[in-house]
Amino acid sequence: MYPADYRYTKDHEWISLQGSVGAIGITDYAQHELGDVVFVEMPKVGAQLKAGESFGTVESVKAVSEIFSPVSGEVTEVNSLLLDSPETINKDPHGTAWLVKIRVSDPKQVSGLMDAVSYEAYIAGQAKEHFA
């Protein structure tokens, strides 16, 4: 379910690094919690993102959710598919529904994030807390 080569944040973003460029999206857990996505607001190419800072929003029917950048870097590409088809986030959150690609300033920031196993344990812990 959660790609082994991605890294994950506590805010349910993922990053997939290819060389120095990372694709960023939100996880399956996040899309499920949000419900049907209807609108995505994203930064422009060239925007400077900072780790832990909000860089856009994903909106579902009922909720508005900020997205936080897992790492620092410059936006090199924005996924225009999501402007016309925001529901792709629900259908393929780890693949075609990447939000932005960024040139990562410090790749070590990526390895500091949770791996798939840790993330799965983290979200299982969330569910337990819900029902505690």
Partner: protein
């Protein structure tokens, strides 16, 4: 009738819930998903049934209710094109009986209940002495000495206290919510589906009329009413039969593509149909004239709570008017967002969001009457950014006849 859908209450986020944006301007839209059932929340008889269907549950006015099952968009589409099934057992019922019952109903509500035939219902307002709303509701005439009021879930105890407080007519007033479960089946195929479970002919039941019959061998009040803008029925019955009726309706409807639907779709459907929601379009600061509800407000019937204020306001004019709003780009103006006209804050969005069937973003808002003409260009402030919109006629959606 209309219950308090809309997640405008601030709820504590538990750690690890998705971080939802804190709207510095006005209010926080927070989704509390998959809430575990707690002792503090009230539950309908179908609570376990919803959880078994994997519904996302939410705290709605103190009730543990399903927000969605298969998704708000799918559920909304089902109701518009086929049929949807809603557990509305959280709604309240107040029974008024005795020779003074009509007088009491007439005194506390703004519509004219003396016009009702037995077996007929009307949409109305429960009024304060200031001409504003305690609640909105449906008044059903059961007999000359018996009226059934269906009120909003979150207001039922306050409504009951209000009716009691004004009962100088010696009517018997009962807070009957716990004695009823209620299921709504709504959509173009709703009648066909419900007909499979009853020998009572449904077609002859006119809109906003009701009768008693057996559904699935269960004694029910069968009303041709609803909160979706589609044809459909709401059935009221003893809570002990809830699970049986729900499951048998789902079975009867499976061939037709009947879907269980939650409060999320209930809200998007009523918004498209331009129906009011207490706490949003109407509350204890708004009058029927302001809310476009003059059609249910009848001061000519005789004095009622607040009617003197309403007669006066009709003469002097209203200072704000409820209008329909359509967003002009893809951005979504939501509940509570400010409306800006000519560079100045001029009002508020009362309810706003995507219209899944119409495929646009819509809302209702209060604006000054002199800025309320159709086509007026306005802006909605969305978390600090102004997004273009314009004023449009309501209802946004009207079902094909």
């Amino acid at each position: 009738m209309l219950d308090f859908v809309g997640l405008t209450e601030v709820e504590k986020l538990s750690q690890g819930c998705l971080h939802l944006v804190s709207v510095s301007l006005l209010h926080v839209e927070i989704l509390s998903v998959t809430t575990p059932a707690t002792a503090e929340l009230r539950k309908t008889a179908l609570n376990a049934t919803h959880r078994n269907l994997d519904a996302k549950m939410v705290n709605f006015g103190g009730w543990d209710m399903p927000l969605e099952y298969s998704g708000i968009l799918a559920e909304h589409e089902a109701v518009r094109t086929r049929a949807g099934l809603f557990d509305v057992s959280h709604m309240g019922e107040i029974e008024i009986r005795g020779p003074g019952s009509l007088d009491l109903v007439q005194w506390v509500t703004c519509n004219d209940a003396s016009k009702l035939a037995i077996g007929q219902a009307q949409y109305s307002g429960l009024m304060t002495d200031r001409g504003t709303f305690v609640d909105d509701l449906l008044v059903h005439k059961m007999s000359d000495t018996h009226y059934l009021l269906c009120v909003n879930a979150g207001n039922q105890d306050a409504d009951f206290a209000h009716v009691l407080a004004h009962n100088r007519f010696n009517a018997e007033v009962e807070n009957a919510g716990p004695r009823y479960s209620q299921i709504a089946i709504q959509g173009p195929r709703a009648k066909e589906i419900l007909q499979r479970l009853t020998s009572t002919a449904l077609e002859p039941i006119r809109y906003y009329h009701f009768l008693y019959g057996k559904v699935d061998s269960v004694h029910c009040l069968i009303a041709r009413t609803g909160y979706t803008g589609e044809d459909g029925f709401e059935i009221y019955f003893d809570p002990g039969f809830s699970v049986k009726l729900w499951n048998d309706l789902l079975d009867a409807g499976s061939h037709f593509g009947l879907l269980p639907c939650g409060l999320g779709a209930r809200n998007t459907l009523r918004l498209e149909a331009s129906m009011c929601l207490y706490g949003h379009e109407i509350d204890d600061t708004t009058t029927p004239w302001e809310a476009g509800l003059g059609w249910i407000c009848k001061p000519d019937k005789g004095a009622f709570l607040g009617s003197d204020i309403l007669v006066q306001q009709k003469k002097t004019g209203i200072e704000r008017k409820l209008v329909g709003v359509e967003m002009l780009d893809r951005r979504i103006g939501r509940d509570g967002y400010p409306v800006v006209i000519g560079g100045r804050e001029a009002g508020r969005v009362t309810s706003g969001g995507p219209a899944p069937f119409l495929k646009k973003n819509i809302g209702m808002a209060y604006v000054p009457p002199n800025s309320s003409a159709f086509g007026t260009n306005i802006e909605v402030s969305i978390r600090g950014q102004l997004a273009p919109a314009h004023i449009v006629a309501m209802p946004f959606y009207k079902r094909p006849r």
